[in-house]
Every structure is written in C-alpha cells, then in structure tokens.
C-alpha cells in the first residue's frame, strides 16, 4: 500500500482532531462516572492490588460485577493507567478513549482493503476516518469507559488482519487473536463475530484456500481452542459467564408477549377451534414478528437523527446518535456500494445485519450500546455517499462547501448538546452527585456509627469504594452480599464497614422510627422531596438538589 505524503498528512490531521475531541476534559465530561464505568475501574484497582476482582476471584475471565458478568478485558486495560496516575476518572476512561482514537486509524486501513480503486479508496478511507472521528455516537462511547469501544477496536483490527491475511497467512493467527480478544471485551460480539467470520470465509473462500496450508488450518484450530479455553472452563463452572445478563434483558424473559398471547387466546373464546387458535396465536409468529420489529427499529429516523437512544446514559439531549446530515449520505452510500458491485458489499451488508441482530433479541430497543459496532459501516457509507455526491455535482467545489457547511452545523450542534446541555441539565443521567457525597461523608464519617444509603441511582456502594479508594482486600473480606439477583438480574451489596445500602427504603417511615441514633442518611431528592430538615445537600450543576443528607446524633 503506497500512500502519498498528502494522505499521511490528512490522516494525522484527522487523528489530531479525534484525539482532541476524545481526550480533552475527560474527567469532566461526562460529568460523572456511570456505575458501569466506576465498577470496571474499581475492579481494575482490585486486580492491580490483589490479583482478584471485588468478589475475590483470582484473574477472572468474566467479572461478576453487579451480577451482570462483565467481560474483563477493558478492566485489565485500565490497570497500567491506574498504576501511572492513580484511581481517577481519567485513568478509568483513558483506555477507551485511546482505543477509540486507534479505531479511527484502523478504519482508514480497513476501508483501503475493502475498496479496489486506488485513487477513490484513499479518499473514501480518509473520509471514513473523518466521519468516525466526528460521530456523536462514537464520541459518546469513546469518552466513557464502555465495553463496546474495546470490543469494536478488536473487531475492526480482526477484520483488517483477515483482509491482510489473504496475502500472508501468518497474519490470520493475529486475526484470530484479535477476534478472541473482542469476545473477551463485549458480550454482543459473541454473536456478531461468528456471523462476520462466516461472511468473510464465504466472501473470500477461494483466496483463503489459496493462501492456507493444511498446517495453517491445524494451527489456527489449535490456537482458537487455546484462546477460548479459559472462557469454556469458566462457563462449565458458572454458565452465566458466557452471556451475562442477556437472560434478563431477553425478549423471552419479558412476559409482555406471553400475556398478549393469552389475551388473544381468551378473546378467541372457548368455542374456538384449538387448532385455529394455535395457528394464529403461537410463539413462533409472535416472537418472530417482535424480533423483526425490534431489529428494524434501529433504522428509525427518529432514533438515528432526532431522539437517539433513550436508555441512560446513552442519550445526548435532543439529538440522534448520528449527525443529522448523515440522513442524506447513508442511503446514497448504500446505493452506490450495491450499484457499483463492490466486492465488499456483502461484508458491509452482513456486518450491519449482524451488528444489530443481538439487540433485536432484547426488550430494550433500539439500543445504541449493543449495536455500536454498526458505526463502522455507517461511517463507511457516509464516506462513500459524500464522495460520490461531490463527484456527481458539476460544481464540485460548491458541493464540498455545502457538505462541509452542513456537517459543521450538525457537529457544532452536537458539541453544544454534549459539552454544555448534557452536563448542566441532564447530569442525573450519569449518576451525578455520588462523588460529591463521598467527599462530604469522608469528613464526617467518624462522628457516626452507620452511614445509610438507599440502594438507588446506580449502585452506590461502588462509588464509596472507588472514591474512598477502599482497600480491595478489606472489601473482599468484609462486604455483606447475598448474591440474590433482583428481577433485572442485578445482585446487590448490602453493606461494608460503616456503610449500609438497604434495598427497601421508606424515608417517611425511617425518620419517625429510626433506631440508630448515630447515623447519617444520604437520601436522593425524589425520596425526600418535602423534607427540609437536612443538614447538607448535594446539588446538580443546574442548581436542583440531587441528595439530601440527614443526621441523627
């Protein structure tokens, strides 16, 4: 691959842009560490100091975490940063941000492999990198310590190595390693990777057979077994390791469809022919239709360009997950790829299907987190769309100017929503306030026998562990845990040290009947709205109360 100096220069500019957006003020925006981020951070801290996770499991291949069994790789990646700069927002978010930036470089080289024409592919590859670098969806995920960013990095790297491996079989070993690491990074990829792999094998069957020897086949098979062995052993010990919380978010766990089925069967009446009733109201049709509906909801314009993902913390206020201007170029890009019969068109098509499919089986749709790997394809499609749009215009410069202007407006709007609107008016989406609570409690805790915090607004115990840098060894010994999952599959910590985290918490009852006369209560505002006898309060950036602190001395 011969690249001109101009191409390298442009790529470096894109990387600088991407790095600036992803690394600046990493500790302040998002305004607080979300419970999943902080949990990974504390587990990394625990692994660094004791070699065990918070539950005392030595070098885990899956973090039990809140009972959701998080893949461990992102936490392992945090260890060097925690060692270097200490346990903080920056050390927790840094690996994700860096991998997000490297993915922007990788997408350039991947796109170069997917298209054949030398001149066009360089421009399309540069555009793909550029559009990924300014993607609101990618920025939101990269700036937070989310599992999906690590997963995406290894997925893109794996596909790139596969393409290169068609010429040099040794790279296929690295490709296999990369795919395996992506499996240790994010659950959804345990479904996506096999589909993409099958597509790759079918699309490049002839070239692959020409490159691989029998020895290679055997070597790859053995390497695959070795890489997946730890996961398999853990699965035998604890079946939840493979799909984590997937069971409790699956549409088959949700009773909505079953209840609707019984409602319809009841409406059919007792005189209805059972065969007819079963023909029309059966699981196969009802679930099939529901899965298709959920799958297609990921292409809804309101989700992509207007409202976004409404599940916290993945929403950017009043905007979709993509830039609004992408609306015009994604369909154009798709059309061009199929019309021009690009060899990679089926990989692109299958990638987007596979990327969204796992989410279609859950009842929280559309989901930007579970479908994050589709961002690669959206970026490539926008790149192809804008490239060909500028080419077909007779006044190309004018076309480029119009596209640039539209994207500047779109991206400017995103910057305002993300860096201004989100932290000020929606700080609660990111569980804001716990850090401030811990800092305040630190100075007072000696005065009280107990500190009581209702188990709401995320998992409060992990914020106390993280910001107090509580000894992991101590926590592994002293934590009170029942390991009984709630209806969403989460397991709760009841307490440790002076701290208690009750699940059932009726403030109006407790304040009248409190048995503990030397206790400090930290109560979220919505549980103690009318109560004004608090000694202190923690405020959101917009001035509203987040927590009230009550003391019984």
């Amino acid at each position: 691959m011969n690249l001109s100096n101009k191409t390298y220069f442009l790529l470096i500019l894109i990387v600088i842009l991407a790095a600036t957006i992803r690394l600046i003020w990493l500790d302040k925006y998002p305004s607080s560490l979300y419970s999943d981020e902080i949990d990974q951070g504390y587990n990394a801290y625990s692994l660094m100091l004791t070699g065990k996770d918070e539950h005392g499991v030595y070098m885990p291949v899956s973090l039990r975490s809140f009972g959701d069994w998080k893949p461990p790789l992102p936490s392992y990646f945090m260890i060097p940063f925690i060692r270097l700069i200490g346990l903080s927002e920056v050390s927790v978010r840094m690996p994700s941000a860096l991998l997000g930036i490297i993915t922007i470089i990788l997408i350039f080289f991947l796109t170069m492999e997917l298209f054949s024409d030398q001149e066009k592919r360089t421009k399309i590859a540069l555009l793909s990198s550029f559009f990924l670098s300014i993607s609101p969806w990618d920025i939101l995920q990269s700036r937070a310590a989310m599992l999906v960013v690590t997963g995406l990095f290894f997925l893109v790297f794996g596909v790139y190595l596969f393409m290169k491996g068609l010429k040099n079989s040794k790279l296929l070993y690295l490709c296999e390693l990369s795919f395996a690491l992506s499996i240790y990074s994010y659950y959804g990829l345990r479904v996506v990777i096999p589909v993409i792999l099958i597509t790759l094998l079918f699309s490049f069957k002839k070239r692959l057979l020409g490159t691989l020897t029998h020895k290679d086949f055997l070597g790859l098979f053995i390497l695959g077994c070795i890489l997946l062995l730890p996961l398999l052993i853990s699965f035998i010990k604890q079946p939840d390791v493979i799909f984590g919380r997937a069971k409790t978010v699956s549409i088959f766990y949700d009773q909505g469809i079953n209840l609707r089925k019984w409602e319809l069967i009841t409406q059919d009446g007792i005189n209805a022919n059972p065969l007819i009733t079963r023909l029309f109201h059966n699981n196969f049709y009802m679930y099939g239709r529901n899965i298709l509906q959920r799958f297609l909801s990921h292409f809804d314009g309101r989700y992509l360009f207007m409202i976004g993902d409404t599940s916290q913390p993945f929403q950017i206020p009043n905007m979709g997950i993509l830039n609004f201007t992408d609306l015009f170029f994604i369909p154009l890009g798709l059309l061009v790829i199929f019309k021009k019969n690009y060899a990679s068109r089926w990989l692109i098509f299958c990638w987007i299907i596979a990327g969204i499919l796992p989410s279609a089986f859950t009842f929280v749709t559309p989901s930007s987190n579970r479908t994050f790997n589709a961002i690669v394809i959206y970026s490539i499609l926008v790149a192809v769309g804008t490239f060909y749009f500028a080419r077909i215009l007779s006044k190309r410069l004018l076309g480029i100017f119009v596209i640039s202007l539209l994207y500047s407006l779109s991206f400017g709007y995103f910057l305002n929503q993300y860096f201004v609107e989100l932290p000020i008016n929606h700080a609660d989406w990111w569980n804001y306030g716990w850090k401030q609570v811990v800092e305040m409690v630190k100075n007072k805790e000696d005065k009280y026998n107990n500190i009581i915090v209702p188990d709401v607004n995320g998992m409060p115990y992990i914020y106390f562990l993280f910001y107090e840098k509580y000894s992991p060894e101590e926590f592994q010994k002293r934590a009170i845990k029942t390991y009984i999952a709630d209806r969403f599959g989460y397991e709760h910590v009841e307490g440790f040290g002076k701290y208690l985290f009750p699940n059932e918490f009726d403030w109006n009852f407790i304040k009248k009947n409190s048995l503990d006369k030397h206790a400090l209560y930290i109560v979220p505002e919505d549980l103690a709205k009318s109560d004004t006898n608090y000694i202190n309060a923690i405020y959101y950036p917009n001035g509203k109360i987040a927590f009230k602190i009550f003391a019984y001395e």
């Binding site: 239709r289 909801s297 207007m306």
Partner: protein, 287 residues
C-alpha cells in the same frame, strides 16, 4: 385470457372480503351508515380496476399490473378504509380516475382534469392545513418527527397509528412479508432512475407530516397505490432474477404472505370487534 380471469378473481376476492359482515364490523352503526360503507366498497373496486389499468398502461407488463392490484386490495390499510365511511378512500378513487383520464386525453383537456384535483382535496380533506393557511403554524421539529414516523418500518409494517377506531392497530400499512419485495422494488426504481413515483410518495408524506391533525395521516393514504406498485415491481424482479435453487425461499415468502393475510382477517373479524366494543362510549360518530 388467464390474466383476465386472475384479475376477475382479484375483484371477486375484493368484493367478498369487503362485503362480509359489513353491517356488523366495525360495530355500532345504523342503516344509513351501511349505504355509505357500500359506497366505500364500490370505490375500492373502482380503485383496484384503475390501479391495474394505470400500471398496465405505463409499465406494459400484465404481471406487474396484476400483482399491483392484488397487493393493493390486500393491504391492511386499504382493507380497513374500504369498509368504513372514509373520505381518503373516496378521494383516492377520484384522484386515480383523474390520473387515468389525464393520461388518456390531450394537452388542454389534461389541464382541465388536473384542475379537479384541488377540488377533490377540498371536498375530501376540508380540514387540510393548506385550506387554512392563515391559522397554520409550522413547527419544523414536529414536521421532521412526523415525517420520520410516516417513513418508519414501524408504521409501514407493524403499527398503524393513523386512525382511532377504524382499524386494527396491530398491523401496519403492509404485511411484513412484503418488506423484502418493497426494498427490492425501491432499489429497482432508483436503478431505473424512475424517481417520479418515489418523489410523489415523499410529497404525500410531507403533506401528511404538516397536518395539525397528525398522526391522523389521511393525506398519506393517497400514496398507497404507489406502495402497491413498488412492492409488485419488487416481487416481479425477484421472481425474474431468482435461480431455480432459490425457489424454496420464494415459496416460503408466498406462504408467509398468505399466512399474514389470514392473521389479519382473524384479527379484523375476531379481535377488532371485541377491542372496539369496549370503547364504544368514546366513539362520537359513526364510521
């Protein structure tokens, strides 16, 4: 001859499915409403004939014309509208008839016929925003939101939110089994650079999205024959291009369409009356 018999079959199917229990479903009607419903059925039959004729005239492929008319009568939205007093259903028939006349006459007469379209709109959609321009307030957020709703898979295939009591909300404009053919049809239209009909759908969508009465998207109903044609084109292209090994997929799709039709009829004749009967107190006018 075979084509004529098939088309006759489509018309008979249309008449039978529309007339079946017309006085009972939707429930809560009087005798004068029944006559209006009959008029709606008649209008649907005329529309079916015109859809067939227009497609045959323009595409010159009898199979596509037959498929278009068959899909048209099978669309859940068309079925529901043709069994109630529906001004969009009547407007659609009149607009289709005018289009037929326009395409079969010379220049000056064409202009005269086209002038009837605003009149039809005025009579059929008296509340349409364009006739109340002074009161009309444009809200671009609502407009874009409405447009996305109208062109969402949810509305087209899963959930029709455009009416309150006149139909089964569990079904969209089309059956889900039509989805792959609809996509192929759109791709084919773009491939052939035939943008007029696609733009017309967008035009009806814009008109509906601007309506202050949204989600009651009566204007978008006019796009239904085009949707039928695109789906028919998709089916035609797939059958032409598909190799014999893939016939099993096609047979499966045909089975799925028939199954979904049966599902829809089951919902319409068994569940819909039960759902509506519990809400009779909220229905303020007969339909």
């Amino acid at each position: 001859m075979k084509g004529k018999i098939l088309f006759l079959g489509i018309l008979v199917f249309t008449a039978v499915t529309r007339l079946f229990l017309l006085n009972k479903i939707p429930p809560s009607i009087n005798s004068s409403v029944y006559i209006w419903r009959l008029l709606s059925v008649f209008a649907c039959l005329i529309s079916t004939i015109v859809v067939y004729t227009l497609v045959k005239m323009n595409v010159r492929k009898k199979k596509i014309a037959l498929l278009s008319s068959w899909i048209f009568v099978n669309l859940p939205w068309v079925f529901e509208q043709s069994r109630i007093i529906s001004s969009p259903n009547l407007a659609l028939t009149l607009v289709l008839l005018i289009m037929l006349l326009v395409l079969n006459t010379k220049y000056k007469l064409r202009v005269v016929f086209l002038l009837f379209i605003p009149v039809i709109f005025f009579v059929s959609y008296p509340k349409m925003w364009i006739f109340h321009a002074s009161e009309f307030k444009f809200n671009y957020i609502n407009f874009i939101n409405n447009l996305f709703m109208l062109f969402s898979f949810d509305f087209l295939f899963f959930k029709n939110f455009t009416f309150w009591w006149g139909g089964v909300k569990e079904f969209g404009v089309m059956f889900t089994a039509f989805l792959p053919f609809f996509i192929v049809g759109i791709y084919e239209m773009i491939n052939r650079q035939e943008f007029k009909l696609l733009l017309l759908i967008v035009f009806f969508g814009i008109f509906s999205a601007l309506s202050p009465y949204f989600p009651e998207s009566r204007e978008f109903y006019l796009a239904v024959p085009i949707i039928s044609f695109i789906t028919a084109l998709g089916i035609y292209c797939v059958t032409q291009k598909m190799k014999s090994v893939n016939r099993s997929i096609l047979i499966f799709m045909i089975f799925l369409i028939l199954y979904e039709s049966a599902q829809f009829f089951h919902f319409y004749f068994i569940h819909y009356p039960q759902q509506i009967i519990s809400n009779v107190s909220q229905i303020h006018e007969s339909f």
